[in-house]
């Protein structure tokens, strides 16, 4: 869906998405890194379970909700990636206690 333009020389940042290693770049948001990864990163909505991907990428639509380092319902488009960050694609509602 998206590719990195060929002159991107930013430092790699390694994150883990549902247990798999993904190479992001310094300055990526979690959502941008997920969309660039080429993996199936569709979440499922809390209401009907319908698949979704980020829509606005600017903090408005909440379709980028994702579990980051064990905390659910984070807006992936507002959080920059960090080395070793653990990402889980959120399927349905946020679980109690995380």
């Amino acid at each position: 869906m998206f590719k990195r333009f060929d002159q991107d020389s930013r430092r790699p940042v390694h994150i883990v998405v549902d247990g798999a290693a993904v190479a992001a770049r310094e300055g990526d948001t979690v959502s941008a890194a997920l969309l660039a990864s080429g993996r199936d990163v569709r979440r499922a909505t809390a209401v009907s379970g319908a698949p979704r991907l980020p829509y606005c990428m600017m903090g408005v639509c909440f379709d980028c909700l994702v579990t980051i380092d064990g905390i659910g319902n984070r807006q992936g488009c507002l959080v920059p990636v960090a080395e070793g960050m653990q990402i889980e694609i959120q399927k349905g509602k946020r679980e109690i206690g995380r």
Partner: protein
Amino acid sequence: MNVAPKRDSYDVVVIGAGPAGLAAAATAAEADLSTLLLDENAGPGGQVWRAIASTPVTERDRLGSDYWAGAELVRAVRTSGAEIIQRATVWSLDRHLEVGVSIDGASSLVKARRVILATGALERPFPIPGWTLPGVMTAGAAQTMLKSSGLVPDGQTVIAGQGPLLWLLAAQILRLGGRIDRILDTTERRNYFAALPHAFAFMTSPYFAKGLAMMREVRAKVPVVTGVSELSAAGDGRLATVTYAAGSRRETIPAELLLLHQGVVPNVNLAMAAGVEHRWDDLQLCWSPALDHNGSTSVEGIAIAGDGAGIGGAEAALVRGRIAARAAVEALAPAAAATLAPMATFRASLAQAERGRAFLDTLFRPARQFRIPSGDTIVCRCEEVTAKDILDAVAIGATGPNQLKAYRRSGMGPCQGRLCGLTVTELMAQARGKNPQEIGYYRLRAPVKPITLAELAAMPKTEADVQAVVRG
């Protein structure tokens, strides 16, 4: 790691670090007012100058000179003495000018003598069939990824809609080696005639030559279909096809990515939650705050600058930021105001920056069928409420957006109406034969962005706060 604000009160708190907020904060701080600038993103720039301090796209002609114009203002605000906190989510503002802000998972309250809201714009909802499918995004989303991460579309890509941003995005994608298969232009043909009386002002504005050059650049490389009057997206679990009609032509084309855009509208949530009076703007088809010539709102001490004050574009936003800040300086430190440029200079710049706006507003006024959906098309993305659901609720007595919440929960999901509010107002107005002003909008309340109960509970409390809720 981000830290909480250094003080618990400031002369001026500016919310949002786009053109208006940066200009306002720089102006207030240069006049020696204690100034706090809060911004939700990782770096300054807002949307138009997003990632200006960190973009990997450093060759200047790729993003264009209008983008790089922001760098100087970012430098100015960083040396102005203003305290700047990024990744700060403001979730509350009240008429006592108390600002609730969440930074790195912890919330605090700061008091202000003046608040300047520069929360900008968001993209107008584009509720077509299939717009919730994975692979359908806003044009702004693609532009955000392009600016901040150098990401460009590389599968079958369709861009649909209208307005200057659409052409700018297309040009930027092409310059970075991205792929666009088709552009579907939804500008209504009759708008060209309606806009004619404003054409002279537009042709003498800075937008004209730039816009024309960009459209030529894009049209040389991408097939463009004009007069598109129907649009829908379809696919099983993700976008597979886009169907459109233009005149007698109807076509279904394969697509992996559909980028939608039909203009931007003020981001009203924080201002409305603070009690700022808004009115329906019949030309821009959105809610705009009622403001005086300095950007002051109906709430004493709160001003709004930038696109949140009514869409005017980046240049106008910057000047409105300076005007609002100068007014704050005049009120709080009249002697310091003499060190700033005179108000008359700012007003002349504003008039210049607003030239041609009426032409753009009229030409790119979105068509009714793309604002007011029908049938199974989703209106509220969060709660998955369709146009038919809403019309059914109207039929059994829902009178406006607030009643509708009780019937259908529309507007009660995490986005708090940002992506359905305008659609709900116009849909209900049409169904009830009233105008949008009569129908009204959702009543917005803090927290305007979700925060956890744990974060609320962990906020510092005074003895009086505790006593207020203790029983017995």
